[in-house]
Amino acid sequence: MIETLINEIRSSMAENRVDIPLLEPLLKPVLTAPLIGDLVAFLLWRPILAFLFLFTCMMLVSVFLVWWERKAAARIQWRVGPREVSRQIGGLIQPVADGLRYMFQEVIVHRDADKFYFIQIPILAFIPFLLPLLFVNAGNLVPIETPYGIPLMLALIGLLPVMIVAVGWASNNRFGFIGAIREAFMYFAYEVPFIISVIAMLVLYGTANPVEIVKEQGIWWGILRNPIAALVFLITAAMATSRLPFEIPEADQEIAFGPNVEYSGIMFGLVMMMAYEKAFILGCMMTILFLGGGTGPAIPMLGDLSGALWFLIKTLIVLMLLTAFCRAVYPRYRLDQALSAGWSSMLSLALIALLISVILGVVM
């Protein structure tokens, strides 16, 4: 009985194994080994590998973006940015040094904090930040394929501001409190146009399944079919991840990093990464909806990873543009200005995008 079950699982894992011709000669002896073989087969099981791939990418991209943001801004600002820590690679490991330093620093839990939530939320917040990744399709790699992929991602992304509000609230600091309120207001400002712009694309493609969406696009990427929706998506994504010019909840000159004000050491590292993780998720969505997902010239040596690589490259380009350009060029809007932008120009643009989609997708 049990043996049949195990065999069934084994055969399922073998059927759904990721196909990477480059690694094939290496994998063959490993897979036949008794216990390690099963483990490796499990890791190479399509859904698991897809998730692991996305998770690793998220971590690496976050660290890379921290460096990129500083380095690119520095170049625009007529200086060199992080450099001396590793001269040959332009200070690329600067975020590693910073992260390590945070790791070894004292974590201060101040007297006024709501200790229980103050400590647990940054750690707990990790889970809602990982969940949307389950529905992302990086080329052929997709952890869970479902026709409700995009709506599920939207719903889970909607959870994220709650975490930031909770962080600010638990800090029990006036600036943290004001930052939390600002985050809540910003959520109202961007969420409606954001969702409408996504709906516009779903109407255009006639499906909410990420895999189907990518197939539907072919070479006519979403950004070519409905550029206005792409613009609205990009701007609302900047609002959602508090990028300049909408860096309002965490405005350091105004409210001293708002919700993050009391966090120190590795806890601050976790809180600070939230924004980058969110940016990664939104970048993935952008790639799926507008940039044709993992489509691109296939690299036969990499097999299934080829699509994933293209997906990663596209996401990275979106994020690099979003972080570097906005930060170097724009000052910060005021909260009321961001709100009115969200509810007037953004909302009307989103509705226009929806109209275009209806005309293109349904009528024509």
Binding site: R70, A73, A74, I76, Q77, W78, R79, V80, G81, P82, R83, E84, V85, G91, Q94, V96, A97, D98, G99, L100, R101, M103, F104, Q105, E106, V107, I108, R174, F175, I178, L244, P245, E247, I248, A251, D252, Q253, E254, I255, A256, F257, N260, V261, E262, Y263, S264, G265, F268, R327, A328, V329, Y330, P331, R332, Y333, R334, L335, D336, Q337
Partner: protein, 774 residues
């Protein structure tokens, strides 16, 4: 502070020690905590010229997330608590580097009453000398801490012996002249002087008619200066008549002079007018004697609202109780542990020693251990303020003194939702007792002292003081020196504006604007270095002229400034000023109408942005301004954007002034120091080196009060010297800086704005705390 090497021990312990040390070494993030004027050079060190981020040091907003403090210069008694608090809030392991001479032994402020040593407050890892430290020095401080983490010992500097050439047979004098204090100085504020002032007599006659029977005497004390002597009973009525009838609409200065041997104090108000054209250049001093044992004086705030802050300041310094001012009896600039009434004459400072006074123990200026408990720092709140805010559902937020967007001050912001209903200033974090220190130094020694008040605007703040002395001594400055001084003053105006626009960009979250403006400022600093030899504190202007002539090739470089700046300024303009977000943020915020601006006594470009055509350089021309062709830019909007744009236009006018002055200088011969002052040392007329103390050591200015008013970068700068005619030190120096005068306008313009506008308005007001606090 039991174990000063605790942080190093932690990093050295455990298996992970190499990783800990490596990570900490490359990630020394200085906390953004600006304690004094060396912060300007710190900004240069982290700006694009020197780029501190290169070596892994990222200037970061708040204490909790950093591990490194760069203590910038002077720590006052008030700031000591903030410093301790910030240090304690930082997570271990943490490092401290102190920059600037004041951070070591007090530097130029060594015997001030409000100064303490940083190493009494926090354990220090490294000291960087200099006044101010250069950016290279500041980054060397960071590197030294990095070396410390590597285990390299660079705690001592190896000095090289350099043989200085000296001429044989030349006398070697002690560096300074001994100070002479008159035992019973005769203090008279209204010394009658004949001045070449055509309309003066008519004005006096008119005033006499208006104030019939209220005054004791009305005297002309110089060109455009009138002194009205009265009594405490009549002063309020005079103020009422002056403000309503004559049109004297603002007070520029409130001053108290302590005369202990006559058991009296003299309280004086210096008033002027923006509304009536003929009174614009005139400073009317209204003064009355009060008894020293019951110092009470009627407050004139109901007639001149902007006298408020100065009255509070004088109350703190002298203990004069201004009856009617609701803020009496509370601390404003000073900390609770600062000595009481420090500017009274019976409070004595320690004095320096001379080379010939051998055997005496050189005193340390700062002795008392500072109080560092933040709880001892009282909030400057009126009674019932917090309860009232609570009852009306308002939030009170304290912004500063350690806040990425507060400057060296604390703003008590009262919020209704997102709208500011009131802001109370808690200033004095950089009050370095300049007025008291000046009473214990020779006239010439005060030049570098006052320059420290505003090192971003070094030229004008220097020029104002020197002009007061020249006015008193009646020296005519050589033509060439006048033009050179004009160039220096305008270069300084531009550099102050670049500093302010950099900070304005920073406050809006625009780091690129900050970097571009500092790149522009770096260019100005380079120019100043070539002209004077110092980066930003040149002390170049001396009574009678300037220190030395500027060579022709340097003048050529100065002449090219206009085209060099314009090219780069275009980029700043494109990315910051013309940015739609900047315009959206600044347009229509913090509006002061013309009437309000006059009422709150706003000065300088900020006054002109509200539509008042007043510029000291036009109204009461000095140096070469009346011979050059330039305009006064004016705007009627009175909002933050126009305050900024008026200064942009002014910067362009300054460039044109410099161009014209340099062209004129090329065809000009002659010395740069007044021969009248040089006396026997005529050789020094193009270069004062070697004759400095022989010429300037024994300056004694005639009896009376000498007031100069200068247009500094941020507005009118007033120096008032009171001399007894016998001592070679001033009896009292009153300096009123533009930032101090603009504070009231800044506070009022915030009402009704949003919380985010506190920072947006901050530097469009050009508020520079060291300048305001003096």
């Amino acid at each position: 502070m039991e174990n000063k090497d605790e942080h190093m021990d932690f990093l050295d312990s455990g298996v992970l020690a190499p990783f800990k040390k490596w990570a900490t070494k490359w990630s020394l993030w200085p906390v953004h905590f600006v304690t004094s004027c060396c912060g300007v050079e710190l900004a240069h060190a982290f700006g694009c010229g020197y780029d501190g981020e290169r070596i892994g040091a990222l200037n970061f907003g708040i204490a909790r997330q950093t591990n490194f403090i760069v203590v910038e210069g002077t720590i006052t008694r008030k700031m000591a608590r903030a410093l301790r608090q910030v240090w304690e809030q930082m997570p271990d392991p943490k490092f401290v580097s102190v920059i600037g001479a004041c951070g070591e032994r007090g530097g130029i402020f060594w015997n001030g009453y409000n100064i303490i040593r940083p190493y009494d407050v926090v354990p220090v890892d490294f000291f960087v000398p200099g006044c101010p430290s250069t950016p290279e020095g500041i980054l060397r401080g960071v590197r030294a801490v990095q070396d410390k983490l590597d285990g390299k010992d660079r705690t001592t500097i190896e000095f090289k012996n350099v043989g200085l050439p000296s001429e044989e047979g030349k006398e070697n004098r002690v560096p300074t002249t001994p100070k002479i204090y008159s035992p019973t100085p005769a203090i008279k504020v209204d010394v009658r002087r004949d001045a070449d002032w055509g309309t003066g007599k008519e004005l006096v006659e008119r005033l006499k008619g208006e104030l019939n029977g209220l005054y004791k005497s009305i005297t002309i004390t110089g060109k455009n200066r009138i002194a009205i002597k009265t009594t405490t009973e009549n002063v309020a009525e005079i103020a009422s008549k002056m403000s309503n009838g004559v049109g004297i609409d603002h007070v520029k200065n409130v001053n108290v002079i302590d005369v202990p041997h006559e058991r009296k104090m003299i309280v004086e108000y210096m008033a002027s007018s923006y509304a009536v054209k003929e009174f614009m250049p005139v400073l009317i001093t209204i003064f009355a004697d009060i008894r020293r044992d019951e110092c009470k004086f009627p407050s004139l705030t109901q007639y001149w609202e902007n006298a408020d802050y100065s009255e509070r300041e004088m109350h703190e310094f002298f203990g004069v109780w201004f009856e009617g001012n609701s803020e009496m009896g509370r601390k404003f600039l000073l900390a609770p542990d600062t000595p009481e009434f420090p500017l009274r004459k019976d409070f004595k400072l320690k004095e320096e020693m001379y080379a010939f006074e051998e055997g005496k123990v050189v005193p340390s200026g700062i002795s008392a251990k500072p109080a560092t408990e933040i709880s001892e720092l009282p909030l400057p709140l009126p009674e019932g303020f917090l309860e009232d805010a609570e009852n009306s559902d308002e939030l009170v937020v304290l912004v500063g003194p350690h806040h990425p967007g507060s400057g060296h001050a604390r703003w008590v912001v009262r919020l209704k939702g997102d709208i500011i209903t009131e802001v109370l200033p808690d200033v004095g974090y950089v009050h370095r007792s300049m007025e008291k220190l000046a009473e214990n130094r020779l006239y010439i020694q005060n030049i570098p002292l006052f320059e420290r008040a505003s090192i971003t605007d070094f030229g004008n703040i220097n020029l104002g003081y020197v002009r007061a002395i020249e006015n008193a001594l009646g020296i005519e400055v050589p033509e060439r020196a006048k033009y050179i001084r004009t160039v220096i003053a305008e270069v300084s105006r531009i550099s102050a504006f670049f500093y302010d626009s950099a900070i304005a960009a920073m406050m809006l979250g625009h780091s690129t604007g900050f970097m571009y403006a500092f790149a522009l400022r770096e260019m100005i600093v380079e120019l100043v270095t070539r002209m004077t030899g110092a980066r930003i504190t040149a002390s170049f202007i001396v009574p009678g002229g300037v220190r030395r002539d500027i060579p022709a090739d340097v003048l050529e470089t100065v002449g090219n400034l206009q085209s060099a700046v314009q090219k780069r300024w275009k980029k700043f303009e494109d990315i910051f000023i013309n940015n739609p977000v900047t315009i959206a943020r600044l347009k229509g915020t913090g509006v002061l109408t013309k009437e309000e601006a006059i009422k709150y006594g706003v000065v300088g470009p900020f006054l002109r942005a509200s539509g008042v055509e007043y510029d000291v350089r036009k109204v009461e021309p000095y140096e070469a301004y009346d011979r050059l062709n330039w305009d006064v830019p004016i705007s009627d909007d009175g909002d933050a954007l126009s305050r900024f744009l008026v200064r942009v236009e002014e910067m362009k006018q300054s460039l044109s002034i410099i161009r014209q002055a340099v062209d004129a200088l090329k065809n000009m011969k002659g010395g740069v120091l007044s021969e009248e002052l040089l006396g026997d040392y005529k050789d020094a007329s193009t270069d004062i080196r070697g004759y400095f103390y022989r010429v300037f050591g024994d300056i004694v200015i005639p009896k009376g009060e000498w007031t100069s008013i200068t247009e500094a970068a941020r507005g009118s700068l007033i120096y008032s010297l009171i001399s007894d005619g016998e001592s070679n030190v001033p009896y009292r120096v009153r300096i009123v800086t533009p930032s101090w005068l603009n504070l009231k306008g800044y506070m009022e313009s915030l009402k009704g704005s949003r919380l985010a506008d506190l920072q947006a308005l901050f530097q469009t007001w050009g508020y520079f705390p060291p300048e305001a606090d003096r």
